[in-house]
Amino acid sequence: MKATPAGIGSRGATAVAVAGVIGCLSAAVGLQIARDRIHAGETRETERILYVRSGEAAKRLALDFDALWADVYWIRAIQHYGGERLASARDRKYELLFPLVDLTTTLDPYFTIAYRFGAIFLSEAAPGGPGRPDQAIALLRKGYAAQPGKWQYLHDIGFVYYWHYRDFKTAAMWFERAADLPDSPTWLRPLAASVLGAGNDRASARFLWNQILQSEEEWLKRTAERSLRQLDALDAIDQLQAIARRFPPPPGQPYSWESLVRRGILRGIPADPAGTPFDIDAATGAVSLSASSPLHPLPHRQTAPAS
């Protein structure tokens, strides 16, 4: 029963109005996209100037919306991390990563994923990451202080000591402490023992990463997969190294994959688990991961004993 103005050709006018609105909005969005593309750099600059650095100030400003603000800061932390990764290696500073994650966790102390993933981000070695395992540990301790029952935080601290500091005694101690907590999984104590015992081996490293692979969080899973592939790459390098040493090229010729393939020793150019071919030094025959590989840099560079 809706009445319409008579005699204005109202349906025509409606069409014109709708077309006008859609047209203007589309043009506006077009300008928005253009601006985002052209002036992306400026926004990165501004983000370095984080307005609120102190967690306590943020908590006060957030009024009753702490958890929501925590989410916002978390999104910005990830965006900051991603943005820095995309920048060229020279420009990567990651200087806001810790403040952002710190703000996130101050606003929402139960934000588990922020602690764990933040720690992984922070401890990742330069140039790919900020290379700040100390900040990672500080973050995890904060998480543990907020939730003393969560064994995951202690486990993660141990992991940082193991993987990044190569301090096996301290790592084992943290795994033991994690094992002491009520809900902790049964594999923590044997892990502590084996880390203490054989520390430098890849088997315990593999074990640790496989545990993390079980986690439900997508981020942790992906990091674990990558680290496992790095370990595979290390194994592959050892094997290839042995082969290269056993079959040196004819005198006067450089070490190369092609010569090994020609001589029938290898079936094809060997590549790492990410698909990038390994490097082989022409003079010494030392096999290493290519710098252009996504798995670069490898954690523990181990050279097999020369045969």
Partner: protein
């Protein structure tokens, strides 16, 4: 055309009689008082704080004016039924809507201009009373023309918010219009975070939804160049042009919609 300007002037006159200028006095007092207080604090930071405070206050006061007058622009007239006599005069409904909008934009322009002048006066005083040696520590000069870029974008943003308030007021009550406009203001300032949603969520559809919302909702965070200007970072002319163009087109869409709805309404 003449009708639009007459109505615009009438809206401006109403805002003046409505005691809106008092908030300007409040603003000026706030600025002056804080500049004297901050003079006692650590040197070098007070200029930045004055600029931050001045720009933020301009944005906030402007926001209040835009929303509280904007929602009443149409709905108050309809509720009080003063619109009956008005529409019997030789003006069309679109002229009425556009006239109201122009009037509020005029009000905002005057308010923003006065606040900007007050800010510059205070900054000039600070610059005058601070020894040049200390001034080298400042990120940007005290009386910095670049501040006008921030003010300009604040003004365009306020025009957009006014457009939103007007749009809602053509068909809903003042209370609801205020809530919706204010809600969109808040969401619009978090718009940049929506763009990065795809990095955080797992489902493609949620990421697409976030992207879509980023484009459809008014992107108000882009108008905020206060931080850059205060720290002396460059704001390229291209950025200003594209953002302003975005704003004007969005406003055009809102005005078309508002005019359309208003032209078809029954006034009970």
């Amino acid at each position: 055309m003449r009708a639009i300007s007459r109505i615009a002037v009438s809206v401006f006159r109403e805002s003046v009689r409505d005691r809106v200028p008092y908030n300007l006095v409040l603003f000026a007092v706030l600025l002056i008082a804080s500049s004297f207080l901050l003079g006692q604090l650590t040197a070098g930071q007070d200029v930045k704080i004055i600029k931050d405070l001045g720009l933020a206050a301009t944005a906030v006061f402007g926001l209040f004016i835009a929303i509280f007058i904007g929602i009443g622009l149409v709905s108050k007239e309809v509720e009080r039924r003063s619109i009956y006599a008005l529409l019997a005069k030789p003006i069309s409904r679109p002229e009425l809507v556009l006239g109201k909008y122009a009037g509020l934009v005029l009000t905002l322009a005057v308010n923003v201009a006065v606040m900007t002048i007050a800010l510059y006066v205070v900054l000039a005083y600070m610059t005058w009373t601070t020894p040049p040696a200390l001034q080298t520590a400042w990120d940007a000069p005290g009386v910095d023309p670049a501040l006008l870029k921030a003010v300009f974008l604040i003004f365009v943003e306020l025009m957009l918010i006014t457009g939103l308030a007007l749009f809602f007021s053509t068909f809903s009550t003042p209370m609801l219009s205020a809530a919706l406009t204010f809600g969109l203001y808040i969401v619009g300032h978090f718009n940049a975070d929506l763009r990065n949603f795809e990095q955080v969520v797992e489902s493609r559809s949620a990421a697409w939804l976030a992207r879509g919302l980023y484009h459809i909702l008014p992107d108000l965070s882009a108008f905020d160049v206060k931080t850059q200007v205060v720290h002396g970072l460059a704001v390229p002319g291209g950025y200003l042009a594209l953002t302003t163009g975005y704003g004007l087109l969005y406003i055009a869409a809102l005005l078309i919609a508002a005019t359309f709805i208003f032209s078809r309404r029954d006034f009970k």
